[in-house]
């Protein structure tokens, strides 16, 4: 198991280097310039242009610029954001904390509600309740998160005044109250996916002989659901959940913009627009690392869900 993880970790590092090189090259080739972001709209003295180009190595060939960045990265120095004039780590750290809180909240809502309703829907298959659940999942998948966010904002923030309209809040309960509506908007589309996956997996299992035999033996209630109905369908569900979590932690830009949350996704979009290469490179590494780690966790969890699944040297 440890060797397997080490091999995956090593290949993950190779992937991250290749990814960062590709993004660096694409940003270099894209129209626009870092000097414009750095110098802004002020008249540019030749000395200022020269100093900016020297400080950020913009006078070097692109491969050399990348190597300089990579070398500093290995030493833990990700440079300064050219937009915010602050260490890149600090800029991303602030955004990452907020995105993690939002992501975890939305994920929790999606998993608890989605799995619960998915199981209920599968156990009451082809009843009106099941049809309502399936209909809700179709609506959840089809509704753009931005539209849902605005509707939730109007209903619960404006009409009822239960929650603030936008912003991240200051921390603690204030932060929680600011994140409820965005988490609901994100969680609603995610719960639909979880419901569909859970329903499909549970439905497949309840039609098996093993489930019927367990019921005949007198197994009932939560034990029947957990061990016989749900467990068999967990592998595809875990894969889906890993993908959902990746999306929640890296791609929820529309919700972040609608609710004014300075999270990772909107920071990424701003970094592309302003050619803030230090931030963009660091975010590329962060999102790449998140994807690699979540995939690894999902792959390892298969063995614990179903011991018949072997991984690494156990598979030989």
């Amino acid at each position: 198991m440890l060797c397997y993880c080490a091999r995956r970790g090593f290949s993950g590092i190779i992937v991250l280097i290749a990814l960062s090189a590709a993004v660096f090259t694409m940003m270099y080739m894209a129209p626009g310039s870092m000097e414009t972001t750095l110098l802004g709209k002020a008249p540019r003295s030749p000395e200022a242009i020269m100093a900016v180009r020297q400080e950020y190595h913009l006078d070097q060939p692109v491969w050399k610029q990348y190597c300089i960045w990579l070398g500093r990265c290995m030493r833990g120095d990700f440079g300064n954001s050219i937009t915010y004039r602050a260490p890149t780590i600090d800029v991303i750290g602030r955004a990452a904390v907020l995105t993690a809180e939002l992501g975890v909240l939305a994920f929790g809502l999606a998993v608890i509600v989605g799995m619960g309703l998915g199981v209920a829907s599968a156990l009451h298959a082809r009843t009106p309740m099941d049809r309502v659940m399936v209909g809700a999942s179709v609506i959840g998948t089809s509704t753009p998160t931005f539209i849902l966010g605005v509707l939730l904002m109007y209903a619960f923030a404006i009409a009822l005044g239960w929650f603030p309209v936008s912003g991240p809040g200051r921390g603690g309960l204030d932060r929680m109250s600011h994140l409820v509506l965005p988490a609901l908007a994100l969680g609603f589309s995610c719960f639909a996916e979880v419901l569909k996956l859970t329903r499909a997996g549970v439905l497949n299992n309840v039609e098996q002989d093993s489930y019927l035999f367990a019921r005949a033996r007198g197994v009932h209630g939560w034990l029947l659901i957990r061990r016989y109905a749900l467990r068999g369908g967990l592998i595809p569900l875990v894969t889906g959940l890993a993908l959902l979590l990746m999306y929640l932690l890296t791609g929820a830009v529309l919700v972040e913009v609608a609710f004014g949350l300075p999270g990772v996704a909107s920071l990424l979009v701003d970094a592309v627009n302003t050619k803030d290469v230090p931030v963009l490179q660091a975010l590329t590494l962060l999102t790449g690392a998140i994807v690699i780690i979540l995939n690894l966790v999902a792959d390892i969890s298969y063995h614990f869900i179903d011991p018949r699944v072997r991984i690494g040297e156990m598979a030989r």
């Binding site: 626009g32 709209k41 002020a42 008249p43 602050a86 009409a159 302003t274």
Partner: protein
């Protein structure tokens, strides 16, 4: 009885296949749906707390530093920073942190600092602090520095008295007073901060500037929120009257969310509101709205170094083909005025009388919308069959794209094709501020000529002088005219405003005849407040070089 039998019995009773539990559930959902609309507007706004204001602004506050060029960020930085002089709401230069100011023929500028001034942390603000910063601006060539003195014609700085400093120009330059000594270029920052961070690192959450202005920056989350409190050591409270004790300023990334924040009572006001949104604030949120001429001119810059705009007839053809009045209505919702030149009307105040301005305008070429004359000019040009152009517009400034689309429609009628390309803000600014005459994206450009105070020299010097027709500078059309340069030199040595006014009048004639720029509109800026507060005198200057905007708020 088994559960299945009970359910079957219920089905038989109801005849509809619905259980009692299901029926109750559906009823609860319908009842909630019926009640929800009734709660609209149930939660009204509470009375505004004028001492602790909540404020909303659009995005653009990445940094709090005097180095920010323009935009909403500079209005935040100005809350805590100020300079020795300021431009008041009438556009007049007056001493501020200086108690006395003397302009010696636009060559030497003598300033005497007030006594007993303090930084916001309570330490004394001395003339040596001012000298340190001015020398820093003079010598630090490397930083991306708004206030890089040599770039603005400042040759030297000297302490000439116990509380006196003299600034020397390399050549006579009337811009140094209002343009440098009253602008963000010399907003004073405590020397410790400047030494530790320099301008390029200053302004991040861990490196907030310490100034002498009315407010202290307590907390800053970039492009999210700013908290300020009153500066207990501020010297001018008795002049400013009742102002908020604290302000919590939130950034709203979407204009629709800003409006919802207003409706919800989360904010008591906002500035930098798009004027076209003002009626919505009145109607939906019940706010008071304000609009005033902004200190900008929207324009097209035509590259006179390359075809087709090296031909004056092509430039005039485009000028006649622009329907400014339609743009005022369609794009700015009436919150703008059709521009006749790069010099807005309020700039002439103090230089020419209104009769002189009227007389001057009668004798100038008038490019009112006239497609027949546009066609005529084109037929006289070196491109009688028309030509094709591409203009870049910024996705962050949607009005640019709308202007260009309307312009393209009318240009098509005279045989000119204008392709409008919407790009990111960085991509849009890149060719404009690199200002390379050979750049194919810089044949025609849309932009804004901004000015910090009312003086006709600004647009002429920035956009028509040969010395600025270089890469990285602001003569975007690369226009060059010996007489224009001569007039600029003459007015620089002149301290008498009416005499300078006559020079500007001739400059305007040259500008209008050659038409390297097509002036589009003079737009307005908007602001909104809760009805519990109001602006004392809403004007564009309070967001730039005047007294900071929160100090202009009053209880209604």
């Amino acid at each position: 009885m088994r559960r299945q039998d009970v359910r079957k019995a219920e089905t038989c009773v109801s005849g509809r296949g619905t259980t009692r539990r299901e029926f109750l559930g559906y009823s609860a959902v319908l009842a909630a749906a019926a009640v929800l609309p009734g709660t609209v507007g149930a939660c009204g706004r509470s009375a505004v707390d004028v001492k602790n204001l909540q404020w909303g602004i659009p995005p653009g506050v990445d940094n709090i530093s005097p180095n920010i060029w323009t935009g909403v960020g500079v209005t935040i930085a100005h809350m805590g920073l100020e300079s020795l002089l300021q431009v008041n709401e009438k556009g007049e230069l007056e001493p501020w942190l200086a108690e006395k100011y003397e302009n010696r023929e636009n060559r030497e500028f003598v300033l005497t600092l007030r006594e007993n001034l303090r930084w916001s942390d309570g330490s004394p603000l001395t003339i040596d602090d001012v000298l340190f910063q001015y020398e820093y601006n003079l010598k630090e060539k490397g930083q991306p520095l708004y206030g890089y003195f040599p770039g603005f014609g400042v040759a030297g700085v000297e302490k000439t008295g116990p509380r006196q400093i003299t600034v020397y120009a390399d050549t006579p330059n009337p811009r140094i007073g209002p343009g440098i000594l009253a602008s963000q270029a010399t907003w004073l920052v405590k020397p410790d901060i400047l030494k530790r961070y320099g301008y390029d690192k200053m302004g991040s959450p861990d490196a907030l500037p310490i100034g002498s202005g009315p407010y202290v920056f307590e907390e800053f989350v970039p492009d999210s929120s700013i908290r300020v409190r009153r500066n207990r050591h501020y010297w001018a409270w008795d002049r400013l009257g009742l102002v908020p004790e604290t302000l919590h300023i939130r950034v709203y990334k979407e204009t629709s969310t800003l409006l919802l924040g207003a409706v919800n009572g989360e904010i008591s006001g906002s500035h930098y509101v798009g004027c076209v949104d003002l009626p919505e604030y009145e109607r939906v949120a019940g706010y008071s709205t304000y609009a005033t001429p902004d200190m900008t001119t929207c324009l097209f810059a035509l590259n006179t170094k390359v075809k087709p705009f090296n031909d004056v007839h092509c430039r005039r053809a485009l000028a006649y083909a622009l329907d400014r009045e339609s743009l005022v209505t369609a794009v700015w919702g009436g919150y703008a005025k059709a521009a006749t030149s790069l010099v807005p009307p309020q700039d002439w105040r103090g230089f020419l009388s209104s009769n002189e301005v009227e007389d001057m305008n009668k004798h100038l070429p008038n490019y009112s919308f006239d497609l027949a004359r546009a066609s005529q000019e084109l037929k006289m040009s070196s491109h009688p069959n028309g030509f094709s152009l591409t203009v870049l517009t910024s996705d962050a400034q949607p009005e640019q794209s709308k202007v260009c689309q309307v312009f393209a429609r009318d240009l098509q009628k005279i045989g000119v094709t204008l392709n409008v390309k919407v790009v990111s803000e960085n991509q849009y600014f890149d060719p404009l501020y690199k200002n390379d005459p050979t750049d194919p994206n810089h044949v025609i450009s849309i932009g804004y000529s901004s000015f910090e105070y009312y003086d006709p020299v600004l647009p002429f010097d920035d956009h028509y002088s040969t010395r600025n027709a270089k890469e990285g500078l602001t003569n975007w059309s690369f226009f060059s005219n010996d007489r224009m340069d001569e007039l600029l030199k003459l007015q620089a040595s002149e301290t008498d405003s009416p005499v300078r006014g006559r020079y500007f009048s001739e400059m305007l004639r040259i500008a209008q005849e050659e038409e390297p720029y097509i002036a589009v509109v003079w737009p307005e800026i908007g602001a909104v407040t809760d009805t519990g507060i109001q602006y004392r005198n809403f004007n564009a200057n309070m967001f730039l070089n005047g007294v900071p905007w929160p100090t202009g708020l009053l209880k209604a």
